[in-house]
Amino acid sequence: MARTEAAARHRWTHYLVVWLALVGLTALSLLLSFAHLGSLDTALSLLIAAAKSTIVLLFFMHLIEERFTVRMVPVLALAYVALLLALMATDVLGRRTFPRAPVPLDEPGEEGDAGRAAARGADRHGVSGRHADGGREREGGL
């Protein structure tokens, strides 16, 4: 009970401050997105999103007042999300033997030479050395 009473002792301004912080971060993220910082964009906006969600978790959802076991639950879940995203991304980024993005298929039945030409192209570019670009648009990166 002690914990909830402690929570009840917050003044309403406490929530106002948290809300203002969230709005501020939102505005910051929006402004940064207009600045077009290139590859920094992604990192910064995700960082801000992480900060915002942490604030919501800690103060709106009162995780800060919870026991250790409860606190571990979202941490664990987010760790697994990170694992899934990281290893999927590693696969996509690390593919060496063929174009990273799929090439369009020919219509079935039609023995188009386009696919074959693409195959040769992919083969040449994708495999024997200059694989990193594979002739497809992948400049920039995330």
Binding site: A119, D123, V127
Partner: protein
């Protein structure tokens, strides 16, 4: 030793340059695995006997609730196991990279898989179906893609396998140690015909291969191991001169005809050839047709015009893909089967077996 273990473990011949080293790791891993499992079981079994209730009653001092193996033993066991796994991983990873990265200057062939056949395109534009012709003793790199679903290109004797993904180009390479015929299997489940989506790698001596590439009908025997493959009639060296029927048989197998057409009357994807020649068949959309040389030729070049009723329109056109002379030879072969009694080929309207 290698040969003995290979036979004990039922492994196929080691016909590629990579196969032997992979098998060596295989022996190491499997022997350790079996010894490990056996050791644990024997120790466990011995404890079960030694400390059984009946014996404890006569030897009460053997029962000790607090008995534990010393800590160093556990640590050592875990450490040893960890080391073992790391060694496996290190060797396995090195070999895997070797398997994945083709050497420079490999002979390149493009492979297209579709339900349920393999098609190959060679650098000079030559093509073949089902049978992949490669030079022996030279690295061959395949670039694979699929037209429909995921397939997997597997040659057990080469210890290679690579999924063939639609919309992507995957590669695999091998170097056949000697001329011969090696089986290709599809190992990624791809539908009704998955298990008949097979083919052969036909490795030729380099000289023979060049002649084959130039379009010469070798007619020459291909030496190699013989598998009992009921659908491939002549994949090893016949002693006598090849006659037209034999040539047709061989052409039918290398062109992949026998992937869909049986020669003994068994129902399959396409109409059986047994007793086909000279018969009158019902056509899709009504009508009948007499199966003669003209009809067969037309069906090969433009299969969808006069479809045998009850079969799916799966057959590709062989126009421009079949060597001169092969058409005639295949017709001769079909003709030679005219007296083989076909089993009642009831073209089943249901989507089972061969005619989906």
């Amino acid at each position: 030793m290698n040969e003995l273990l290979r036979r004990l473990l039922f492994l196929p011949q080691q016909s590629s340059t990579m196969a032997e080293s992979i098998d060596e790791l295989h022996y190491f891993v499997i022997i350790t695995t079996m010894l490990g499992a056996l050791l644990v079981t024997l120790v466990g079994g011995w404890f079960l006997l030694r400390y059984r209730e009946g014996r404890i009653q006569t030897h009460p001092h053997d029962y000790d609730i607090g008995a534990k193996p010393p800590l160093w033993m556990k640590v050592a066991a875990v450490f040893a196991l960890f080391t073992l796994f790391v060694v496996w991983w290190a060797i396995g990873m090195r070999q895997y990279l070797e398997l994945r990265i083709a050497p420079q200057g490999a002979f390149e062939v493009e492979v297209v898989a579709k339900q349920w056949m393999w098609k190959y395109t060679y650098p000079e534009g030559g093509r073949s179906i089902a049978a992949l012709y490669v030079p022996a003793g030279r690295p061959v790199k395949l670039t694979l893609t699929s037209r429909d679903v995921i397939h997997s290109f597997y040659v057990p004797e080469f210890r290679i396998k690579q999924d063939v993904v639609p919309g992507r180009f995957t590669t695999v390479w091998f170097e056949a140690k000697a001329a011969g015929v090696y089986e290709i299997l599809c190992t990624e489940y791809c539908g009704t015909g998955h298990s008949v989506m097979r083919g052969q790698v036909i490795a030729l001596e380099p000289g023979d291969f060049d002649r084959w590439l130039e379009g010469e009908d070798l007619g020459a025997p291909v030496a190699g191991p013989r598998y009992e493959q009921p659908w491939v009639v002549g994949n090893t060296a016949p002693a006598q001169e090849l006659d037209l029927v034999r040539t047709g048989e061989r052409a039918a197998s290398t062109q992949g005809c026998l992937r869909c057409h049986s020669v003994d009357g068994t129902p399959h994807i396409g109409p059986t050839w047994a007793g086909l020649y000279g018969s009158v068949v019902p056509l899709e959309g009504g009508g009948k047709a007499l199966v003669d040389a003209a009809y067969i030729t037309e069906s090969m070049m433009d299969p969808l015009v006069k479809m045998h009723a009850g079969f799916a329109p799966l057959m590709p056109s062989y126009l421009g893909r079949i060597r001169s002379g092969e058409t005639a030879a295949i017709i001769a072969f079909i003709k030679s089967l005219r007296n083989v009694p076909p089993e009642p080929v009831a073209p089943t309207p249901s989507n089972d077996g061969g005619a989906p």
